[in-house]
Symmetry: C3
Subunit: 340 residues, 3 copies
């Protein structure tokens, strides 16, 4: 790909060598000739002279003192990601159903799917065009998988789950396992029915070894474009909106609602039936009490509070030794004045 | 199933249509004709006129103003769970050993087990009547699986583990992996022996991708009727009692003892050799220091403390700005009186 | 093995029966004749008369009042671990490639590897002498596995990962999955390239269901002799040094650096781009803010602080009721003196 082609694609303004051949993306410091890279800010503090990349994506107001080959765009990191997707397309193992795979006769597979070794496809299950089941991925009965999905090795999707288009499930993901619901009886726990479903909308990505439980009654739903990291727990009947980002090891209890465009840190814990309003940002390790409603804004701590309140409270706690000293001094003055 | 049959089963008092046909359970709001549902409290605040269910399980003191078909019972949710188990029996794939499964010759399988595709059963391993190994589940050598167990896809049970009757292991569960024990030597860590076993008693259920390590020496044990959620870590030599409930992502360090009938929230962390006495309830995200003994009661926070102390302490922290103001005012008064 | 042979191996001073046959290791309380055990301290408080073991490893200054057969060494637990490794060698399933395994033709396997049922070995992938792939373990393309490694059932190693010698990956481990990086675009998130690699050096052990993401650009690296527990998350571009110990459920965000010889507790969370200096010890459940540099020493809390500061702060918080009472008393005295 020539630099001028890239400039066209990203609709950027180019300076420098328009015919340089770009074969791959690289980080700024590891870049060499033939690479394209990007500057995260206009004033990056990087030693621009030592950059090996043949071309840089930069902000529009970048001052090109080193006479680099650059392309000016609104969002260099975003355009870099787009160019990377073109230069490094994801592996497509081709149209094949491995002879070891176990495919139910009444399943419904598009003509160009890939199904690797030791996969299972259950009764009445469908897989859309261009989707891949990597080795050892397993689908139960009555599952619907959309188009251009990738299910990595050892993914398991339980009966009745519905998965949209362009969904990526990383290795070890479990979709549609029983929710955790038990009722205490006279002599132990009785299982509450876990007979609902899971719906995963288009363009969702879920990280390795994460779990999404089926609804107990009704459904668990993950909205369009939502991205979930590794080792995340999504319990029964959770409703996650569109374009939500959830970092690793976060746990979302039953019936929680997370609305569109929220950003959730890692190791966050959501009590059941809590609600997070659209656009909220919740810091890592926060804890949301059951039933709590979290409004838009930035939230932090256990239990969760607005970030500025959290900071203020922390400052007060840090200042406790000083406060104590002050009280001690006052007490001393009083006791002395009393003596007089 | 007719409503009067259900009333008989749950030993409840029925009002309304005794011959209504019930085919499935549903949540109150999603219920339609032919469904049975339940009211979680006597004063639910629900719009009873709009309920679609043909029959409701309700508390004995429920006032039936809307002339619904109801069955009065002591614990509606519990009876609902029991009826659900009858109306929605778990899938029984039938008596089959898939031709692709790898079964050691000297294993000992009951005549009516189900063993799915790509399963492995090791040397000298036994599986009791009615148990299911779903596709890709793997048992090591010298494993004993009881009757009516379900091991979901990709479960792995290591050599020597003993699993009782009616145990459910969800997808990706690992039983009997090495515990995490190393001794620092002169030039690095030497592995402490991890050669003990795991014993899982009857009626235990363990959620997807949870891990139970073998004892280093001796055993790790999970008691009868205990229920464990997804992504939970149970380390070597942990002793969990009977009817304990443990929510998702909780981590239990080596040699911890959790006695009978405890309830443990999600993302709780237990330091090694801590003990939780029978009947204790520990809130989500709590942290228990190594060696700590937690008595009966409700516990919260890091490090864990009784819930009312935790609340009191939190209130004191919240009141810090006011306290500081008060001290400031006092200091001002003193300084002014001094001037005089 | 005779006791005198053990004494020779551990270079210890022996007292008692030199020809006693030792067949296995055991914990002190569960030990019987034929067992070797160890005392964790010189003044253990154990009832030494009731110990069943035929031989004990003890500290050099141990006073042998009960005339036990003992071997005096500098570090009894360490020598016990070494003897255990000899008496209980890890299972070696022998040189076999199971007929069901799927092995790419251009892969490069040493002559004495073990490859179990339903394993996959991708194109151009190599496996060193003595390494084992247990049933269902899967390697992508261009993977290099060193010598004497064990990959337990259902482990998955993605394309291009490099794994050293004597590495143990427990069941369900995922190596080389995509990192979690997305750039917000106009209408949703665009995937940031995740095309780097993972390098795992010699003698690393990683616990069940843990995840190590590939570098987005560049590599994720785990240093020689590092030990990682179950359900740990290691994000893209993380650099972990040598001989680091990381307990269960800890999460390490992108580009974090953990230097040599650190000890990290369980459920710790690392914000991205944080750095932990060599020799630091971080307590369980601690939280490290993004970009933070943690020096040598013992650290605790959220956000992380030196343990003694944490304790002091906690003491101040605990003393708040008393402080408040004191301020109240002062206010009362002042108001009374004012009245006068």
């Amino acid at each position: 790909m020539k630099t001028k082609e890239i400039a066209n694609l990203v609709k950027g303004n180019m300076e420098g060598d328009e015919d340089s051949e770009i074969s791959k993306v690289a980080s700024l410091r590891e870049s060499n000739g033939g690479d394209i890279s990007f500057l995260e800010s206009s004033k990056s503090g990087e030693d621009l002279e030592s950059i090996g990349a043949s071309c840089l994506l930069v902000y529009e107001d970048f001052v090109n003192t080193a006479n680099l080959t650059i392309i000016r765009v609104k969002n260099p990191k975003l355009e870099f990601a787009r160019i990377a997707a073109i230069l490094h397309p994801r592996k497509t193992p081709g149209n094949e159903i491995h002879s070891s795979a176990l495919i139910a006769e009444n399943s419904n597979l598009a003509s160009d799917v890939f199904i690797g070794a030791f996969c299972c496809v259950g009764e009445n299950t469908s897989i859309g065009a261009g989707s891949q089941l990597r080795a050892g991925a397993k689908l139960g009965d009555d599952v619907a998988i959309g188009e251009n999905c990738i299910l990595y090795p050892n993914v398991f999707v339980e009966d009745g789950s519905v998965i949209g288009n362009n969904v990526v499930l990383h290795s070890g993901v479990v979709i549609g396992s029983d929710g955790f619901g038990f009722v205490r009886g006279e002599i132990g726990y009785v299982k509450f029915p876990q007979i609902g479903t899971v719906v995963i909308e288009d363009n969702v990505e879920i990280g390795a070894n994460s779990c999404v439980d089926r609804g107990s009654l009704g459904e668990t739903r993950i909205g369009e474009g939502t991205k979930i990291d590794n080792l995340v727990q999504v319990a029964h009947n959770v409703q996650i909106g569109k374009r939500v980002v959830i970092a690793a090891q976060t746990g979302i209890s039953g019936s929680v609602v997370i609305e569109d465009d929220c950003i959730i840190g890692g190791q966050v814990g959501f009590g059941d039936h809590s609600t997070v309003k659209s656009g909220a940002i919740i810091g890592s390790k926060a804890g949301i009490l059951p039933g709590k409603i979290v409004r838009e804004g930035v939230w932090w701590g256990v239990p969760v509070q607005p970030l500025d309140e959290y900071k203020r409270q922390n400052a007060h706690v840090k200042a406790l030794p000083r406060l104590r000293k002050q009280v001690k001094d006052i007490a001393k003055i009083l006791s002395e004045s009393k003596k007089k």
